[in-house]
């Protein structure tokens, strides 16, 4: 089965959302459209979502008063409920909300709510990741060139002092080492997953 032109257009529109989003139809028991984030979060390939029985993948909860009180529902035709989506090949579920319409269409919004705490933990994590990437980019664009220039100037000053036989070269050298340690510390704080930032590699052919 291939996605219709309309469904593909909806998928494309859903990609505007960074968090996992999908649309399904309850009586037709199928997914209609989804975004890339939904695929990544649930682990399903597009072909699998096209063929999936909605009932096998999605668990919709009964409406509860807590959800109804905290969510503004724009129309009486729409009902908000909690939902679980079974992730491909895994035991765990992705959790979130579903906005269910009278005509059978449902918008799945996963990773919006933590069922235990009721907090938007995953969304916050996502926001943190975006913020970290923004800071990393700022660091590399604005701070890194200045640090690099400072390290090279310090090294040059040290070599000039050494060449003149002046003992101040040692103090400058220590300052340079501290600067390099600072750079490494900043990088490891910004991106703890990165390997040793002082590493280089040459590709000898």
């Amino acid at each position: 089965m291939k996605l219709s032109k309309e469904a593909a257009a909806i998928c494309s529109a859903l990609n505007e959302f960074k968090l996992p989003r999908a649309i399904g139809h309850l009586s037709q028991n199928c997914f209609v459209a989804w975004n890339e984030s939904f695929q990544e979060r649930t682990g399903y390939a597009p072909e699998q979502l096209e063929e999936a029985d909605l009932k096998d993948v999605v668990v919709l909860f009964e409406p509860d008063s807590q959800v109804q009180e905290t969510v503004h529902v724009p129309s009486p035709d729409v009902e908000f409920v909690r939902c679980n989506i079974r992730c491909y090949g895994q035991e765990h579920f992705a959790t979130g909300y579903a906005a269910r319409r009278n005509d059978g269409f449902v918008l799945f919004m996963i990773d919006v709510v933590n069922p235990t705490t009721g907090a938007i933990e995953d969304a916050r994590l996502f926001g943190r990741e975006e913020e970290r990437n923004r800071i990393m980019k700022l660091f590399h664009d604005e701070v890194s060139p200045k640090l690099l220039a400072a390290v090279f100037e310090v090294q040059r000053a040290k070599e000039e002092l050494d060449a003149k036989g002046l003992k101040e070269g040692q103090a400058v050298s220590k300052a340079g080492e501290k600067l390099i340690e600072t750079i490494d510390a900043v990088i490891s704080v910004l991106d703890p997953d990165e390997p040793n930032p002082r590493s280089t590699s040459s590709e000898q052919s």
């Binding site: 060139p145 690099l148 090279f152 100037e153 040059r156 390997p195 040459s202 590709e203 000898q204 052919s205």
Partner: protein
């Protein structure tokens, strides 16, 4: 100050002036002849005249990037010597594997910000000093 890199012609390509001038001053102080450019077009135009022994280029440049520069250099067929080593600079270690996959022709990688020792080490390896 030193003659460690004497007679070595090095081209440095980076759109950030601070990086260009820091590398130029340092490498010149070690005896290298350093030519700096801030974009791919200028570098390729000057390449045959300068005939460098080594190129150090940033990956992220405006318009054409460091990979375009590498391809341009490799296409300069009349260049008489053997392949000129090209070192890519990037701020992101995780990007290095992607660059290796997309452009396997780079001879080395430097993760910015790097130290003078790191730079000298990779230059020594590639320029066979």
């Amino acid at each position: 100050m030193g003659s460690q890199l004497e007679n070595l012609k090095i081209v440095v390509v980076d759109d950030q002036e601070e990086v260009r001038s820091a590398l130029e001053r340092y490498l010149s102080s070690l005896g290298a002849q350093v030519h700096t450019y801030d974009n791919v077009g200028q570098t390729l135009t000057a390449f045959r005249l300068v005939r460098p022994h080594l190129v150090i280029c940033d990956i992220h440049l405006p318009r054409e990037n460091g990979i375009d520069l590498l391809h341009g250099i490799r296409l300069l067929e009349q260049y008489p010597r053997e392949e000129v080593p090209v070192i890519a600079m990037t701020g992101f270690v995780n990007e290095i594997e992607q660059i290796k996959a997309r452009a396997p022709g780079f001879n080395g990688f430097l993760r910015k910000p790097f130290t003078p020792d790191t730079l000298l080490q990779i230059i020594s390896e590639l320029a066979k000093l």
